[in-house]
Symmetry: C2
Subunit: 328 residues, 2 copies
Amino acid sequence: MKIAIDAMGGDFAPQAVVEGVQKFLSEDQETKIRLFGQQEAIEKLIEPSNQLEIINTTEVVDGNDEPVAAIRHKKDSSLVRAAQDVKEGNSDGYLSFGNTGAVLAAGIFVIGRIKNVERPALMPTLPTKVLNTFYNMLDVGANAESKVKYLVQFAQMGSIYASDLRGVKKPIVKLLNIGSEEHKGDELHQSVYQELKQLKEINFQGNIEPNEIMDAKADVIVTDGFTGNAVLKTMEGTMKTVLHLLKDSLMSGNLKTKMGALLVKGSLGNLAEQFNNSRFGGAVLLGVNAPVIKGHGNSQPETVYYAIKQVKEMIQGQTVQKFKNLYE
Amino acid sequence: MKIAIDAMGGDFAPQAVVEGVQKFLSEDQETKIRLFGQQEAIEKLIEPSNQLEIINTTEVVDGNDEPVAAIRHKKDSSLVRAAQDVKEGNSDGYLSFGNTGAVLAAGIFVIGRIKNVERPALMPTLPTKVLNTFYNMLDVGANAESKVKYLVQFAQMGSIYASDLRGVKKPIVKLLNIGSEEHKGDELHQSVYQELKQLKEINFQGNIEPNEIMDAKADVIVTDGFTGNAVLKTMEGTMKTVLHLLKDSLMSGNLKTKMGALLVKGSLGNLAEQFNNSRFGGAVLLGVNAPVIKGHGNSQPETVYYAIKQVKEMIQGQTVQKFKNLYE
């Protein structure tokens, strides 16, 4: 089993990526890592291992690169070379913390779409307000335009992932919509609702409204890429704002409040930790010919470590093969 | 100046509505209130005033009523009769805290759309993370389907409202989209971007991403009703979840944390207050023939009081006439 990793993507690359790889290799004896990036810089950061191969690349895709142009013109970038490695059969899975659009483009155009999958979808695993309870949401932004058929496949693929990778029996699938009744929403969502109702292989339980997303009412939330991306970014922004206001509110209070703030500081840290993405790995690009994971750009070594484990589990679980069985 | 108020809508009706009216009348000497609802119940809750007329109605629209059916069949409901009153010219503005869909339907079908307004839009005034700084967002759910032309009019109407009612000079208008560059998003949002760029009368400053909504970067945020509704509900749900988790996290901590929690309790209350909708009144239905305000269903008397003031300001500001000048 071999995993191709882009060492140069993310805010703290290559150091955070390399340290995450090091941690993974210190625990795992069977997986081979093929690490793409500036060989010299990487070698300084990691101990040699017979499970590790470093492949030198001369270009880096950065956050400002236009995704499709980056794929076309930066052929010797770590992001593209790692994808090419999977395409050529040298690696079984792909991981990058770089430019989201470019990672999606590499997954879709280099590694390639599974035959008869209409559109691949980007899917994170996210925490609910209930401890150790999660949900998958897809698509969160691989597609700006959507059709009924895309969302139906998202429901199928998301359900298989939740069942196989997270061990949820008969995952509850819900459709993200602006009302709970089946006639609510626009034509797209009304039609998707009718199609999902017919699908025997998934446990579809109707609409979920965006204010209930974190209430642990669904294992898989199906949405179009525009709404999914908007909702995910809204959650991020709101959480950041509330915690920021809370800090302000505490520090500008009277002496009593300030003393209290000092006492609860650790507890606030725990809260932030609960929403920290480290334990949930990265977002999966479902519907392409190999496991492709896009980790968060601000990932620290621990997040990198969990994301590598996630790629490994998808390879072991043969998730991609299950999608192929369904569609090809 | 006369305002028609539905006394029977909202979670605490008629008491909260009537108390809000009482508070308003205790301060205002020029505005007449026409209060629709169960006369007997209302009379027990309020002091007589020559500025107040109570009009008895025999039906109530509740949260489970299908909006358009409610408008058609519950002709003697307080929600419909108050709208009819505006339609007939007896009142100059409308306020209800009831079933959102029914209030929108009453506004659109009873009070009526302004000629050449494609679609009325629902628009709340919301707090940013900066104290005493607000933004308007529209449409947040009057329309599930959207066309380019609708959003262009939303930008024009929202800009006039922010300038007239909130006193913002040259309001910064931004388009809610899933990327900052002008080519981002689906075809709808790309086309709207191009149209807004051409409009001389508004101060359009490009896209805003959903994670920046509360950062006080825009005075008016233009969005399609599906995305706007989803984003608004996501903000509500996330805030509720974070505060809930914070309380849990504090109360399950050790003795030190618990003591701290007691000390900061007041401060947490302040935070909730900052997001409390009481001071921002209700959401306006822009594009109909009179000021129509939908207050939050959980409104307390203070919120009712502010919502009445908001209707009064819209009447005084002749906002509706300005829209008519623009479109008719």
